[in-house]
């Protein structure tokens, strides 16, 4: 992102780096970069405000930001938001845990075992072409509309990116690393723990982030289609009762939650892969 900074800012950062050490200079850069990242959302918010107050769109379809934030406050005060977010997050936690764990195990298995890879790779390559939402009608047929269907739907969505990235990461471990370890006559578990997993870690963590992001989107999808609670269901009910402000509160909460979840995983990713830099 440094290329976005004007020349004098880079000079100033370089000077600060020279004078006060790496940490402070990085902070200045990060703060500037984050401020730049706020510009577009702020412009969008201003455009939303202008468009809605000038009634360029029907105010029933696009309520002004103030009304949406008042509704958000009402929903927080009444406990409606917390209750439904809790339900959605619980669903996503269970589905993601099951999907990501199974995906990791399958990816590792395929990465290590050439025979398993030969058997399973074509299936995975076909399965990845099917958008998870396309499974929705079939899963409802099989499991009904209750929690089991939602958890399986989310797990299925979380499994595929996790398995593929784990498999990709393990296949990408340089053969020379493995040779060196074999020279020392390490057992398979040590090989996995000391060489393969650390080397494949960036890819596995990328899979984890993708998997969580997919899981969060799918819980909303499942709740929009068949649910009696959860943030997706709140949006469905609000749409049916012509409460556009509540629908927009739902959109904002989904975006913020997704952003927070991804940021936490990005932080974990940075911490765990620091040694590679």
């Amino acid at each position: 992102m440094v290329f976005l900074l004007p020349k004098h800012a880079e000079d100033a950062s370089a000077a600060l780096l020279h004078l006060t050490g790496k940490g402070y200079a990085m902070n200045v850069l990060e703060i500037r970069n984050r401020l730049i990242g706020i510009i577009v959302p702020a412009l969008l918010l201003a455009a939303w405000y202008l468009v809605s107050t000038k009634e360029l769109f029907s105010p029933q379809l696009l309520p002004p930001p103030g009304q949406v934030f008042d509704t958000l406050k009402d929903m927080i005060d009444s406990g409606e938001l917390a209750l439904n977010m809790k339900i959605s997050l619980l669903r996503v936690s269970v589905g993601f845990f099951l999907g990501a764990t199974t995906g990791f195990l399958l990816g590792t298995f395929m990465g290590f075992n050439p025979v398993a890879e030969q058997y399973l790779a074509p299936l995975f390559n076909v399965a990845r072409q099917v958008p998870t939402v396309a499974w929705l009608p079939f899963l409802i047929f099989l499991f009904g509309i209750d929690e089991l269907f939602k958890v399986i739907f989310i797990a299925l969505g979380a499994l595929i990116p996790m398995a593929l990235k784990t498999w990709e990461g393990i296949r990408g471990v340089p053969p020379t690393y493995v040779e060196v370890v074999r020279l020392f006559e390490y057992g398979p578990y040590r090989l996995l723990g000391k060489v393969v997993i650390p080397s494949a870690l960036p890819s596995i963590l990328a899979g984890l982030r993708l998997s969580l992001s997919d899981a969060w989107m799918l819980v909303i999808g499942a709740e929009l289609v068949a649910a009696s609670a959860g943030i997706g269901n709140v949006m469905t009910v609000a749409r049916r009762l012509f409460q556009t402000d509540v629908v927009l509160v739902g959109v904002i909460m989904i975006a913020l939650t997704g952003f927070v979840m991804d940021s936490v995983l990005a932080l974990v990713e940075r911490r765990l892969t620091d040694w590679q830099v």
Partner: protein, 352 residues
């Protein structure tokens, strides 16, 4: 003079042309677009007064000379979808139930209620082998319903009478066609639905545990024909004439109960279902277009209940700004039907 001829004259002509075009555009639309909830059988046909308009070509009788055509849109997602289409200007009129009509207006949708409608029953069904026998036993159960429709309104009232609320059950939103499949396939433990319940019972897949049939009119639907306010302001005369066509159709649909019921089978509902659903209700009552004491009392009580349960954010008096009787009164006078339909009291009985 040359400048005048070269610039001013064409500009003036253009202005006159544009003005003439705008006047012509304001005088009449090409289409009158009306939205209604689609039947569970998804047939592109209407029942009730609109069915009468289609079968007897009443619209063409009034508007053919103007070159205006009728565009009927059958909304699978029912009244709430009609509201959305009215909001984004894709419809001019909508004939919908009490909850969607009220929720739309309370949510800021600029409509006018121009003709009253009434009489839709709500049924509570369970799969035929279910152990559930009463409304009280629905506590904690998975229930299919079309959220935001008149059945949702009735559900609120029925649950309340039995000491329950929406929070005591799990409502799953479904359109009417999906709801039929969900009950037949036992994907839900119960459903609040239209008279399609009778058809399901006849097929042996469901048992009816409750009906609003024979109960106080408060539990039935009291919807309305709505017009988009902008359309009514732009085309007041077209609106008046369309309401006249609707009232004439309501009159024809009020004359012979069996003939009207037979006409209504065109959407796919069996005659036996319609007859059982409308048993004990005079056809004149079912087709009355008047905003009488019964309709107003029903709507006011319902609005208070919807507000109390958070289905609408603001309360309002339907008779202060929403109901516009001018088109209806003009139609009744023109068709000499001012005294054809009696005014009904709060319990649905004709006033003396």
């Amino acid at each position: 003079m040359k400048i005048y001829q070269k610039i001013m004259l064409p500009l003036f002509s253009l202005f006159i042309l544009l003005y003439a075009m705008s006047v012509m555009a304001a005088e009449k639309p090409l289409y009158i677009r009306i939205g209604i909830p689609s039947s569970s059988y998804n047939k592109p046909l209407a029942s009730g007064p609109l069915g009468e308009i289609q079968v007897k070509e009443l619209f063409d009788e009034e508007f053919k000379k103007d070159g205006i055509r009728l565009d009927v849109q059958y909304m699978q997602a029912a009244g709430p979808a009609v509201n959305e289409a009215l909001s984004n200007g894709n419809l001019d009129f909508g004939s919908i139930g009490d909850l969607p009509a009220v929720a739309g207006y309370a949510g800021g949708l600029k409509t006018r209620a121009v003709v009253a409608s009434r009489g839709g029953n709500t049924y509570v069904v369970v799969p035929s082998d279910s152990q559930i026998r009463s409304i009280k036993e629905l506590k904690g159960k998975q229930i299919a319903i079309s959220i935001g429709t008149y059945m949702h309104a009735a559900a609120l009232k029925i649950l309340k009478d039995n000491g329950l609320s929406e929070n005591d059950v799990s409502f799953y939103n479904m359109d009417s066609a999906t709801l039929l499949t969900a009950v037949a396939g036992k994907q839900v433990e119960a459903a609040f639905m239209t008279s399609d319940a009778i058809t399901l019972r006849t097929r042996g897949v469901a048992r009816i545990i409750y009906t609003t049939g024979g109960k106080n009119v408060y539990y039935q639907n009291a919807g309305a024909l709505l017009v988009r306010d902008e359309f009514a302001r732009k085309y007041p005369d077209i609106t008046r004439r369309f309401v006249k066509v609707w009232v004439k159709a309501s009159y024809l649909h009020s004359k012979d109960k069996l003939a009207s019921q037979k006409l209504d089978t065109r959407v796919g509902t069996p005659l036996s279902t319609i007859r059982e659903d409308q048993a004990g209700q005079p056809i004149v009552y079912l087709n009355s277009p008047k905003f009488d004491e019964m309709w107003l009392a029903h709507d006011r009580r319902s609005i208070a209940l919807f507000k109390q349960h958070g289905l609408i954010r603001r309360s309002f008096d339907p008779d202060k700004g929403w109901i516009d009787r001018s088109f209806l009164n003009a139609a009744l006078k023109e068709l000499n039907l001012e005294h054809f339909w009696p005014d009904y009291d709060i319990n649905g009985n004709p006033k003396k």
